[in-house]
Subunit: 102 residues, 2 copies
């Protein structure tokens, strides 16, 4: 039943901003900077921080701090388990869309 | 770009419980009672009320009160605009899944 599928949806990913973050990160092998994420997602730094934190706390995203032109830059990338969990989430979404659309 | 699609996702539908409510209601022409919804979704009455209210306030769901065996029963069904908006939401989800999965 469709409703049983919706219950399984990963709470962490099933949020617009975090779905946006994951969509951007999953496509990038080398990682994406905090500023770039904020710009692409049109989120304030504060708001983005909260969502990134949730993803990091769940081990789906990891960060790297470095200095570029003497300025600190934080880059984020998807972890292996993040990629796996997100793929499962997308599969589930696909099943839901198909089942409801019947 | 995928992220532009995620921004368009209907906030009202993009929540697990409400996605569950809509999945159940969309499949029923005659409507579904509050108790049945709560049971299928495994939600408390209080929690379900909140989500139904959001859907009603947005004109996506309508309710009907009647007496069955002298007991009051509230039945919910999807409105025409609710069906349309939900179909758009599903289309968008499908596009996101396809774009991210590439």
């Amino acid at each position: 039943m469709v409703v049983d599928l919706t219950k399984k949806l990963d709470k962490i990913f099933h949020e617009r901003a975090r779905l946006g973050v994951m969509s951007i990160l999953i496509a990038s092998a080398e990682g994406v900077s905090f500023s770039e994420l904020a710009k692409k997602l049109e989120l304030t730094r504060g708001n983005l921080s909260v969502h990134i934190r949730v993803l990091e706390d769940n081990g789906y995203v990891e960060s790297k701090k470095e200095f570029v032109d003497r300025k600190p830059r934080t880059t984020f990338r998807v972890t292996k388990s993040g990629r796996k969990a997100f793929e499962e989430y997308l599969k589930l979404l696909e099943q839901i869309v198909k089942s409801v659309g019947k």
